[in-house]
């Protein structure tokens, strides 16, 4: 898998990313890169700043310093929706679905930026509206199919069991048609068996949709199992990076994060 990663073009690159909350250094001089088609992990102790990096990349927080480039273009100053429109999608550590809406609508909303019909043709139901609406519904159902959720399309999102909510969130993120997908602890709350199936799914969609993926995860089975490269953060700073093997044997990482039992 990892043979000529370095020759692929860089999708995401952060440069000296820094974020302070008041006096608290949440992220300090973090530079990470994700190349095309790569699956990169970020690990680190709780509070290390991993989620904050995601929030910075997606424009939810504005960095105190540093720059974020997507395919070579700076996206540091963009609003979150603009970042998404450039092809970055994400899931949230605490699942954030549209709880009262149906599973289908959750996905259709994500597909919104592909819609061409205007407001007026929606209001008067122009023929082009119906055509497009049918198409986008098909597409949305396709995404749900991938995640085995098509049968539940009419269910309210909040009524799904936890695991399905996680899957729906990923499906929804994919529906924005990203080139880069950020997953924040997708396996949290899953048992090892479920986590393994999730891993397979992630690998599958990466190939299927030609994605680059940046993944935060605490379950080492998942991280070590599917990531090509891993960044390790602690106290807001990068303390190590490398292949899973390298990381597992890095004493700094073992001390700060993995503990003696894993490895």
């Amino acid at each position: 898998m990892a043979e000529n990663v370095s020759s692929r073009s860089t999708v995401l690159a952060t440069d000296g990313l820094t974020m302070y909350f008041g006096g608290l250094k949440a992220v300090q001089d973090v530079s990470v890169a994700v190349r095309e088609g790569e699956l990169v992990g970020i690990i680190g102790p709780n509070g290390a700043g991993k989620t904050t990096v995601f929030n910075l990349v997606t424009g939810i927080y504005k960095p105190t310093a540093g720059d974020i480039k997507l395919n070579g273009e700076s996206i540091t100053k963009l609003k979150p929706f603009e970042v998404t429109q450039r092809g970055v999608a994400r899931t949230f550590q605490n699942i954030r679905l549209f709880p009262e809406l149906t599973v289908l609508d959750n996905v259709r909303i994500a597909y919104h930026r592909n819609v061409h019909y205007g407001l007026l043709s929606a209001m008067v139901r122009w023929p082009s509206f119906n055509r497009e609406e049918e198409q986008l519904t098909e597409k949305a159902l396709d995404f749900l199919d991938v995640f085995g959720l098509a049968d539940r399309h009419a269910e309210q999102a909040k009524n799904l069991p936890y695991g399905e909510q996680r899957r729906l969130e990923i499906a929804r993120a994919l529906a924005t048609q990203p080139s880069l997908l950020l997953l924040d602890e997708p396996a949290a709350g899953m048992n090892p068996n479920e986590a393994r199936r999730l891993m397979e799914l992630i690998n599958f969609i990466r190939e299927r949709f030609h994605l680059s993926i940046l993944l935060i995860e605490h379950q080492m089975r998942v991280v070590m199992g599917i990531c090509e490269r891993i960044y390790v953060m602690d106290f807001g700073e990068l303390i190590a990076q490398g292949t899973p093997k390298e990381i597992q044997n890095n004493p700094k990482v073992i001390e700060a994060y993995l503990g003696k039992g894993v490895g």
């Binding site: 929706f81 009262e100 098909e138």
Partner: protein, 335 residues
């Protein structure tokens, strides 16, 4: 597909209209009853506007009456001053009401929709009170607006048919909007603004859009109101009127068009019904009984009468899947 979507609701609405209009033409209904029915239709339009803003978009507004008032005054001035009471100008007057209210909704919405929940409510409340003060003193700038004396001499142009078709048009337009991608974008903001943003929805744009649509509907209702009651007074657009419409929308069920229609009509009928039913010596109990009814309804149906439920043509369309093509990437870019 197309025909069913448009014709079904249209036919239903038409049927209701024909029955009522026949009763009116046959003089089975007296002027009072006709006024009440007309007012109920106007209130539907008015409340529907707030439902778009609050019910669907989740933006708490306590100043909806301001837009009702802006629409009312704008359209009244157009008929009275620009067209000197010419009845043919009525559609233009209504359009002016809609346009003015929507434009002001845009201008005010752009900055204040950044605020969240109750803070937004208070800001819109403040806006509403400012508009009322402006109405009170408008005669200093435009004498015809009458200020606290009120604006008189508006021709009576609003008939039941006008109000009904305006309400029906409003319902259909809102329905079509909500069940479209733009509508879903509006609703996603209510559900979770951060998630909506992360889905590439320009939340500012859709909040503004909902606010403009809602204000425009209030403006339409205001124009109809002005030409039904033929007299405008600033006190008709004060804070308490914003509260009235908020109550109606919540009692009907946020995000339910059916609920808004039922609650708006029910609210008008309840207040007027009490006027008829109560014995002469208990007339002042009307305003005592009415809030009690509201409280009881709310306690019995905390999500409103129709919370989250739609009936008939207002229901979302069924999802029919034609080809079962699993695992097909949706984007065109893989080709």
């Amino acid at each position: 597909m197309l025909s069913r979507r448009i014709l079904l609701p249209a036919a239903a609405a038409l049927a209701v209209f024909v029955v009522l209009q026949t009763a009116i033409s046959a003089e089975l209904l007296n002027a009072y009853q006709i006024t009440i029915l007309t007012y109920a239709c106007i209130f539907v339009t008015y409340a529907l506007g707030l439902n778009v803003i609050y019910g669907y978009n989740g933006q708490f507004s306590l100043g909806h009456a301001a837009f009702y008032g802006i629409g009312a005054y704008a359209s009244a001035l157009v008929t009275k001053i620009v067209f000197q009471g010419n009845p043919l100008s009525f559609p233009l007057a209504l359009a002016a009401g809609v346009a003015t209210a929507a434009a002001i909704g845009y201008l005010i919405g752009l900055p204040i929709l950044r605020l969240r929940s109750d803070y937004l409510g208070i800001a819109t409340l403040g806006f509403g009170i400012m508009v009322k003060v402006l109405f009170d003193n408008a005669d200093k700038v435009i004498p015809a607006m009458g200020g606290a004396r009120g604006l008189t001499g508006i021709p009576k142009l609003t008939s039941f048919a006008w109000a009904f078709f305006a309400a029906a048009a409003a319902v259909i337009l809102v329905r079509n909007l909500i069940y479209s991608s733009h509508g879903r974008a509006i609703v996603s903001v209510r559900e979770d603004e951060i998630a909506a943003d992360a889905m590439g929805i320009n939340t500012t744009k859709y909040k503004t859009l909902a606010f403009v649509v809602g204000s425009g509907l209030a403006g339409l209702a205001g124009g109809l109101y002005a030409h039904l009651y033929v007299f405008l007074h600033p006190s008709n657009f004060d804070f308490l009127k914003s509260v009235d419409v908020l109550m109606v929308v919540v009692l009907g069920g946020l995000g339910s068009m059916t609920g808004t229609i039922i609650a708006a009509v029910g609210w008008v009928f309840l207040l007027e019904g009490l006027r008829i039913v109560l014995p002469q010596e208990f007339l002042d109990w009307r305003m005592v009984i009415y809030p009690l009814v509201m409280i009881i309804v709310m306690i019995l149906r905390p999500r409103g009468l129709m919370g989250g439920i739609e009936l008939g043509p207002l229901k979302p369309g069924k999802v029919v899947r034609r080809l079962k093509a699993a695992l097909v990437p949706a984007s065109g870019k893989e080709a």
